[in-house]
């Protein structure tokens, strides 16, 4: 019993609960009483991190918590909602569909939708799921023509993995109005497939959105061309047995044309509140106001089918450029939900006493890191050297960052699987028990010296022995090449700024590694760093980039890392590529039982803990949330950084009247 993996238990419990609810649902529907307490709940957005994309079909440049979890998911529900009272499990009551049913040796899935409806009163049907699948298939098809630019990316999908969903689907079709049937290209671990693949589905209002231009017409046939699928030719470079649409369309026709139209509309921030497209929702809220600076006002969707119904009159998200500005608002008591910057933690008692706040650490199921751009023509050859990554990681003083900049809150990060929830059973002993590459200046210097570098502490370390033999700098590194890198990082967060400055100093003083720091708002950092960099299309615009967060495992809720570290994956933004790692990840998808699943997961994470595909940074709470003590329904906070404003109730003083 002791060896029973608790996280897997959570997942199984979630599935069991879902099954029970499915059975219950067959016996009749339940309705929750509607409360009308009113009040406007104000929610602080992250520093310099306002939402800038509303369409759930988001490319890597927009695939952020601030866009999806905190913004669009309040309006557009995923087919399956994950996060259940703070636990990392499927939440079937909040899901649009009943639990998936696997058959034919787990190679076929049947999904049955609940009888929910869109805000305009039309039902959410199987066709709306197929509509999403068509758009997703077109947007992730390697043969789709390039659409968009690097500064205004075309439609894409931040969770895209070559050979993954939907390329591991032979076919999908509606069966009646409420059922969708998927035939898979193999037998998969149902837990993984539900948590990481079906989790990527968002039903979309096909009756309102299936158009190629604002002038319309809306037609249920615009996207249909992408539904016919074929085995992908070898020339596509996809894993064997991958399936793609025969005709994904173009930028102006077919499913890709529809996706591109919606993408263009989603990039037009100033029209969000007035564009009729975005008024058809299935989530608990609909958009009422939106400014390009990031102010958001959402009001209840009166036709929301789920439960509980929103009881507040509006939910507002407020933008801030710095954590200091946000803290000033918090001190004034004008926020229902905000956050206390870690450097101001000493003010907690005053805020609790004077403004009626309560502190709640928002831990999430994620990891903190920043990537190397392996495709960068200058820095890439250096980043590809394992000894360099080991040296670099050895100069990241995680204990000090936690102690001096994080008020002692946080844990050392060693690998790709989250350390939270505490004693996470998916975390391998190697990852859980200590740093694989602890802070060690002597080790870092010796690694560089042993591999052909002329180390000049305080100066500029250069390659002294080019070549590929043992003890040489490595392939692609010329004699005299300096260890000088550009680091782009997110502005506005004091803790991150301090980390960057400390790291820069250590690198330079100890090993002669020059880090040129440059700040930019969060959205600019991720649009730069998630720019489709691959070795076929390398990116020279960045070398190191830290947006200050890392990754929360959503929608890849089972942390097998496919979306982050598989070769060519959309969110593998530096394009780390290792065939052993790819094979390790695939092994987690097909594990036959729970023991095999954990063994495969441990093998995967131990390998990456040693390989350092990214720079591990200290894990800590996603946010030190301060919320009005009388705000009902707020805790527990979402473990995938999701929020539940439909549960909020305004007690005395919990919903201060917003200024203006």
């Amino acid at each position: 019993m002791i060896s029973m993996p608790k996280l897997s238990f959570w997942r199984m419990a979630g599935v069991a609960a879902a099954a029970a609810l499915f059975v219950a649902a067959c016996g009749g529907t339940t309705t929750a009483p509607k409360t009308t307490s009113g009040g406007i709940v104000t929610f602080a957005e992250g520093p310099s991190a306002p939402p800038n994309y509303i369409l759930p079909l988001a490319s890597g440049s927009y695939f952020s918590v601030t866009n999806l979890s905190d913004f669009s998911q309040n309006m557009y529900l995923p087919l399956y909602w994950f996060g259940n009272n703070g636990e990392p499990t499927l939440n079937e009551p909040l899901s649009v569909a009943n639990a998936p049913v696997y058959s034919n040796n787990n190679s076929q899935v049947t999904i049955t939708l609940k009888n929910w409806q869109w805000s305009n009163g039309t039902p959410i049907t199987a066709r709306d799921v197929v509509f999403w699948m068509n758009l997703l298939s077109a947007a992730t098809d390697p043969k789709s023509p390039a659409v968009g630019t690097s500064t205004a990316p075309g439609p894409g999908w931040g969770a895209d993995v070559p050979g993954g969903f939907p390329q591991n689907v032979i076919s999908y079709k509606t069966v009646g109005t409420n059922k969708v049937e998927f035939k898979l290209n193999g037998s998969y671990n149902p837990t993984w497939y539900t948590y990481n693949e079906l989790s990527q589905i968002y039903p979309m209002p096909s009756a309102s959105w299936d158009e190629l231009s604002a002038a319309g017409p809306v037609s249920l046939s615009n996207d249909a061309s992408a539904q016919t699928r074929e085995l992908a030719p070898a020339s596509f470079g996809l894993p064997a047995n991958s399936y793609v649409p025969v005709n994904p369309g173009t930028g102006t026709s077919g499913a890709l044309g529809v996706a591109q139209f919606l993408n263009t509309q989603s990039q037009n921030l100033s029209s969000y509140a007035t564009n009729p497209l975005w008024q058809v929702v299935d989530g608990p809220f609909k958009l009422n106001q939106f400014t390009t600076s990031g102010f958001v006002k959402m009001v209840p969707n009166k036709n929301y089918s789920g439960s509980p119904k929103p009881s507040i009159s509006a939910f507002e998200e407020l933008p801030f450029t710095t954590d200091t500005a946000e803290f000033n608002a918090l001190r004034s008591g004008s926020l229902s939900i905000g956050y206390i910057p870690v450097q101001d933690l000493a003010q907690k008692a005053a805020l609790e006493k004077n403004q009626g706040y309560t502190l709640n650490y928002w831990y999430d199921f994620g990891i903190v890191y920043f990537p190397y751009n392996f495709t960068n023509p200058t820095a890439g050859p250096i980043f590809k050297q394992l000894y360099f990554r080991q040296a670099f990681q050895s100069l990241v003083n995680q204990p000090q960052y936690i102690k001096d900049f994080g008020a002692g809150i946080g844990t050392i990060n060693n690998g790709p699987v989250p350390g939270y929830p505490v004693k996470n059973p998916d975390e391998s002993p190697l990852e859980a028990n200590g740093q694989v590459y602890p802070y060690s200046t002597t080790k870092a210097v010796s690694l560089l010296k042993d591999n052909g570098w002329t180390v000049k502490p305080g100066g500029i370390t250069v390659c002294g022995t080019p070549g590929t033999a043992s003890g040489d700098c490595g392939a692609g590194i010329a004699a005299g090449a300096p260890l000088t890198f550009n680091m782009l990082y997110a502005s506005g967060a004091t803790e991150l700024t301090n980390q960057m400055e400390a790291m820069q100093s250590t690198m330079k003083s100890v090993a002669g590694i020059t880090i040129n720091l440059k700040t930019a708002p969060f959205s600019q950092v991720i649009s730069t760093a998630f720019n489709g960099c691959t070795f076929a299309t390398p990116c020279s615009g960045w070398q190191l980039a830290d947006w200050g967060g890392g990754w929360v495992y959503s929608p890849d809720y089972f942390p097998t890392g496919g979306e982050l570290f598989t070769t060519g994956a959309s969110s593998n933004n530096g394009d780390y590529s290792n065939p052993i790692n790819d094979a390790n990840i695939v092994a987690t998808h097909t594990a036959a039982n729970q023991t095999a699943e954990i063994a495969a997961l441990f093998k995967y994470e131990d390998f990456l803990a040693k390989q350092l595909p990214v720079v591990w940074m200290p894990n800590g709470p996603y946010q030190l949330t301060m919320y009005k003590s009388n705000l009902g329904g707020f805790v527990p906070q979402g473990i995938y950084d999701e929020i539940y404003p439909q549960k909020y109730t305004c007690g005395t003083g919990a919903c201060p009247t917003p200024a203006g």
Binding site: D323, Q343, A346, D404, S505, N516, T519
Partner: protein, 310 residues
């Protein structure tokens, strides 16, 4: 050369009500400068301002030679220490000595201030004098360009340019200089419109002097009073601008620093009572800017003939 300055300096501000004959025959060059100096020294605030500027320059550029601190490599182990004998102004959030940081920040603030002012005044003088002297369509086009650029909010333009360019001291100098030249251009153009109809300018033309000679030898030297006065204000403004940019996070990247950046960093710790992160940088900015304004005011008084006749 001296003659030109003597005779042409006076009429610049001669205008209505002055008894000074055009060409400035009444004084030798020495007496002119003595008069200017005398008027300048009458202004006690100017003396204070000048003293503050000298102090700041010595503090920032000579200070580090006397007070040695590590300003390249930080030490988080001694972060946020309050003032003590070892660190007279305490330490900052990553462990830099704040007194040394203040000196280093002052260096870049003053360097950017002086250099940006030089660029702004240089461009402005050439642009304004050329427009004023050419007159007609050329003047109209050139000044409409100035008007159009002036319509763009100054801070917005600075932030935009700061975001486009990678910020370093040379780039900040160029960015601020490129945005700040508009006011001196208008001032000099106004002066030039007045000067170009003077008799000595017409005499030069009658004697075959070209526009280039008129511009460089007669117009621009006679706007020197306006230029110098405006330059002092430009320095003060540039220090404010660079502080503002740095405060908004578009300043020089670490380990470089300037007073605005230090102030911005310090404000993150405002509620922790770390006053040493805020007040020294804030006071340095205020004192330096006020000092340049005092000096600028006094120089305007000294170079203004009408005021000399009080």
């Amino acid at each position: 050369m001296i003659e030109d300055v003597r005779t042409e300096l006076m009429p610049v501000a001669g205008g209505v009500g002055t008894a000074m004959p055009e060409g400035g025959e009444g004084y030798s060059s020495g007496s002119v400068w003595r008069l200017i100096l005398a008027v300048f020294l009458e202004n006690r605030l100017a003396i204070v301002g000048l003293g503050l500027i000298v102090f700041m320059v010595l503090f920032c550029f000579v200070g580090p030679l006397v007070y040695h601190t590590q300003q390249v490599f930080n030490n988080p182990n001694i972060a946020n220490l309050p003032p003590s004998a070892h660190h007279p102004l305490g330490t900052d959030p990553v462990g830099y000595d704040m007194l040394g940081r203040l000196m280093l920040g002052g260096q870049s603030s003053l360097e950017i201030g002086f250099a940006a002012a030089l660029i702004a005044v240089g461009i402005g003088v050439i642009w304004g004098a050329t427009a004023g002297l050419a007159g007609g369509v050329v003047d109209a086009v050139m000044m409409r360009i100035v008007d159009a650029l002036l319509a763009i909010p100054f801070l917005f333009a600075l932030i935009l340019l700061g975001a486009i360019f990678t910020t370093s001291i040379p780039e900040l100098i160029i960015v601020i200089g490129l945005v700040a030249w508009l006011v001196p251009a208008r001032l000099v153009r106004g002066e030039t419109l007045s000067l170009r109809v003077r008799e000595y300018v017409q005499a030069v033309r009658v004697m075959g002097g070209g526009s280039g000679r008129v511009l460089l030898r007669h117009i621009i030297p006679n706007t020197v009073g306006t230029i110098v006065v405006n330059a002092t204000f430009q320095v003060a403004d540039a220090i404010i601008f660079v502080a503002t940019l740095s405060f908004l996070g578009i300043g020089v990247p670490p380990p470089a620093t300037n007073w605005g950046g230090e102030l911005s960093n310090g404000l993150s710790y405002f509620y922790d009572g770390y006053w040493w992160l805020i007040y020294p940088a804030g006071i340095a900015i205020v004192l330096t800017v006020v000092a340049f304004n005092f000096v600028g005011d006094a120089m305007r008084d000294a170079l203004e003939v009408r005021l000399q006749q009080r």
